[in-house]
């Protein structure tokens, strides 16, 4: 699963980080699974200004059309897929 959410912003260019700078982890990929049946793995994504479910889906899954997957995983907090707000925490299901 492509890492998303409140990770460190990418360092500009390929500049080597200074000693006090933290490395860039924006390209980290992750996942999880369990021996328990029907286990569901997801990342937590914190919505930022300008986000839409399509934009998040494009970034996470590589396809804006996958927005519905995110919407369906968050029906407990989202009633309208067009209404998300900064600071809102969304579950991002793992790529299948």
């Amino acid at each position: 699963m492509v890492a998303t959410g409140d990770k460190n912003p990418a360092a500009p260019g390929n500049k080597k980080p200074a000693d006090d700078e933290m490395p860039d982890f924006s390209d980290v990929q992750s996942g999880a699974s369990s021996t328990a049946p029907a286990a569901q793995a997801f990342e937590t994504y914190v919505v930022v200004k300008g986000d839409t479910l399509s934009k998040i889906a494009k970034r996470v899954y590589g396809s804006a059309n996958s927005w519905q997957k995110i919407f369906e995983a968050n029906t407990d907090v989202l009633k309208d897929p067009n209404k998300i707000f900064p600071g809102q925490k969304l579950k991002i299901p793992a790529k299948s």
């Binding site: 890492a3 933290m22 490395p23 999880a32 699974s33 369990s34 021996t35 997801f42 990342e43 937590t44």
Partner: protein, 157 residues
């Protein structure tokens, strides 16, 4: 006026004195207090983490094949988490890079499942561009807890 005979007086006295001597009948004993029975049903054990093991590969059982706390820059890093207890379970793995007093979030992944028996779950992270060398840690949280149930430190490089 009719006189009361001595025999009648004696009989009255016998009856009256006999009444005094009789023991008043005792009230029935109070009913025994209701017996409190200790429930014999065993409550399911609370869900909890029993072990976290790190490695760069896992088997079908989700356990790492060889435990390690030092990794190469191109490794996929696995955290195998043993849990026990019943009920709805939510585990969260927070991976961080540690540099002195500072930490940078590397990744955060959550898994939810219904636990009925000891379970093994795995979390993994990889970085196509290679891991920066240094110190890292993974913290495993249960449910909404803000303090980790278990923390494992590891090193890259």
């Amino acid at each position: 006026m009719k006189r009361i005979g001595p025999s009648l007086i004696a009989a009255t006295l016998v009856v009256a004195l006999g009444g005094i001597g009789c023991k008043k009948s005792e009230p029935p004993p109070p009913p025994p207090p209701p017996t409190t029975t200790t429930p014999t049903t065993t409550l399911p054990a609370a869900f909890g983490v029993s072990a976290v093991t790190l490695g760069n590969a896992i088997g079908a059982d989700k356990k790492v094949t060889a435990a390690s706390e030092t990794f190469g820059v191109n490794d996929t890093i696995y955290a195998s988490v043993d849990t026990a207890g019943a009920g709805h379970a939510r585990l969260r793995a927070l991976w961080s890079f540690v540099k002195g007093e500072k930490t940078a979030k590397v990744d955060e992944t959550t898994i939810e499942f219904e636990s009925a028996a000891p379970t093994v779950s795995e979390f993994h992270i990889s970085k196509p561009g290679g891991w920066p060398k240094g110190d890292y840690k993974v913290e495993i949280f249960v449910g909404d807890a803000t303090t980790p149930a278990m923390t494992k430190a590891f090193k890259v490089g």
